[in-house]
């Protein structure tokens, strides 16, 4: 199986975020970045499918130059090679613009599968895989908890709401948006990190892939949400806070 895994670099989860001067994005100069966690599960699924059925895992990343770090980490975990669509101004693209670049780069590879995480931890649109599938003309399914190869294609286990699941048969090529928790993530080995240094990263620019349509949906302003609920905040030494909380649990919440 030839498998492309589209992954994104996002600010580390525990980052303290500040709105930048323009008010349209965050100050990202001093942040540390990591692989978007849902995409890490997609990568792991790709690696496991390759281990079972043979083939190749290609990492595809749309992002600025700094995303090379995340690509190297994916290569260190076992991906065979990578394609980096270098674009410094992701904020200028909407979901269609991003998916178009990803679909164009993926189309050239003639792969069997394109895997992505369910959504990104930054924008959280949860659309890139599905939009790319439509642009590629491939079948797709989302919120996937299991992938098995069948004679004519694949059978996936799709998560429905409220604890329900469903199996779906799909022809290849297909796009799958992988649900977090589908597998157990691996760590890169020392050997893997060493090997990653020699693996191919093909760099493309957005311009090389053809012009993007003008963005239809753009972020006008970002801001810290206004609190709608009155929260009593307790702060101070742990022992003191615990005693005050127990008072409240006893006399206000009445559960003790």
């Amino acid at each position: 199986m030839k498998i492309i895994v589209a992954l994104k670099q996002v600010p580390a989860r525990d980052s303290t975020l500040k709105v930048d001067g323009g008010g349209k994005w965050i100050q990202d100069a001093d942040l540390s970045f990591e692989i978007n966690e849902p995409d890490a599960y997609a990568l792991e699924e790709g690696l496991q499918l390759k281990e079972k059925h043979g083939g190749e895992v290609i990492v595809l990343c749309l992002g600025p130059a700094r995303a090379a770090q995340t690509i190297r980490e994916a290569l260190a975990k076992g991906a065979d090679r990578a394609i980096h669509i270098e674009e410094e101004n992701l904020a200028g693209l909407d979901t269609l613009g991003m998916a178009q670049l990803i679909a164009k780069a993926a189309a050239a590879e003639q792969a069997d599968l394109l895997l992505t995480g369910l959504q990104s931890d930054d924008l959280g649109s949860g659309q890139t895989g599905v939009v790319a599938a439509e642009l590629l003309g491939w079948a797709h399914s989302t919120i996937i908890m299991q992938v098995d190869k069948t004679d004519g294609g694949i059978r996936v286990k799709r998560e429905l709401e409220d604890g329900w699941f469903q199996h779906i048969d799909l022809p290849l090529p297909a796009v799958l948006a992988i649900q977090s928790g589908i597998n157990k993530l691996r760590y890169a080995t020392l050997m893997g990190i060493k090997k990653a240094k020699t693996k191919e990263i093909k760099r493309l620019t957005a311009a090389e892939l053809g012009s993007s349509p003008p963005a239809q949906a753009v972020i006008d302003r970002i801001y810290v949400p206004q609190k709608s609920k009155q929260t009593q905040i307790l702060e101070g030494p742990a022992r003191e806070v615990a005693a005050r909380l127990v008072e409240k649990l006893k006399f206000e919440v009445r559960v003790l």
């Binding site: 998916a99 959280g124 439509e134 604890g163 977090s180 949400p225 609920k229 806070v241």
Partner: protein, 286 residues
């Protein structure tokens, strides 16, 4: 509304204050497939030519509406929590960075604009009654348009843990850092006489079984007390627990979105606060 044999549901919908209900009916829409639903709704949208199409942000909508939008050369604005009009233009509010920030989105280009609305963003019971005309539409669908073959939905082995019945819940999130620390919150649950629950990442990592998960992909709970320990409060978690009578959150990050819904917030290190709390609860109970 799309499906097969949905005239009863369409009539029910028509009893709301709406101008019109379209019932898109076809035998091939009986089972949901992204190919079938996209083709059927594409035809309807092209026929009706609305300025805006609103969807509920469900798993099913996430599965096909981005495809529908692309088919129509549009962009779906997904998971919107509020819509307002500013200078005559629509502004859609979304959560960004797992709820740490909000973003106002504006759309440009020709109608229709496609938008999916987060569950709970508006109150369903506020929809007034009325009587609308139902127009049944039969899209031209053929089996060869549908590439995926869905099988009947199923549940994993019945849930051994029913969190929905719990009066008191202690729930743990990523802040617990590693599996070896889980006993710290187990101890707290024991002291309170509460059920132990978790946010999705804890179950994804196998630190607690999936059946203890609260959130959009787990159980929806409404206990008297929900004590969230080290849970940042991603929306997927909040939808599963915001119906709790009292929410107490312990988190070291004072900007964590969980404090948006908490009645009582403890800003502090859970590894210090929780053991102290266990001790105080035992004292109060003895």
């Amino acid at each position: 509304m799309a499906g097969n044999g949905i005239s009863g549901l369409a009539q029910e919908l028509a009893s709301k204050r709406l101008d019109k209900v379209y019932a898109v009916e076809h035998a091939l829409l009986g089972e949901y497939t992204p190919d079938g639903y996209t083709a059927a709704l594409e035809a309807l949208v092209r026929q009706v030519n609305p300025s805006c199409v609103l969807f509920p942000h469900t798993y099913q909508v996430r599965d096909f509406v981005p495809k529908l939008a692309t088919r129509l050369s549009r962009v779906l604005v997904s998971d919107v929590i509020r819509v307002r009009v500013e200078d005559g233009a629509l502004v859609f509010v979304r959560l960004l960075f797992q709820g740490k920030l909000n973003g106002d989105m504006r759309v440009s280009g020709p109608a229709p604009h496609l938008v999916s609305i987060q569950a709970g963003a508006y109150r369903a019971e506020n929809v007034q009654t009325g009587s609308a005309v139902v127009e049944t539409v039969t899209p031209a669908l053929t089996p060869d348009q549908i590439r995926s073959k869905p099988h009947p939905p199923f549940r994993e082995s019945s849930r051994a843990v029913d969190l929905t019945a719990a009066e008191l819940i202690v729930s743990v999130g990523r802040g617990i850092k590693e599996k070896e620390n889980i006993p710290i919150v187990e101890e707290l649950a024991r002291a309170l006489g509460a059920e132990l629950a978790a946010s999705r990442p804890i179950c994804d990592n196998g630190w607690l079984p999936m059946e203890r998960q609260v959130g959009s992909s787990g159980q929806t709970v409404a206990p008297k007390l929900y004590l969230a320990v080290g849970i940042s409060g991603a929306i997927q978690h909040l939808v599963g627990m915001k119906g709790a009578k009292t929410i107490v959150a312990i988190n070291k990050d004072s900007n964590a979105p969980i404090f948006e819904v908490a009645d009582i917030g403890v800003v502090g290190d859970l590894f210090e606060v929780v053991p102290a709390l266990v001790e105080e609860i035992r004292k109060a109970k003895s």
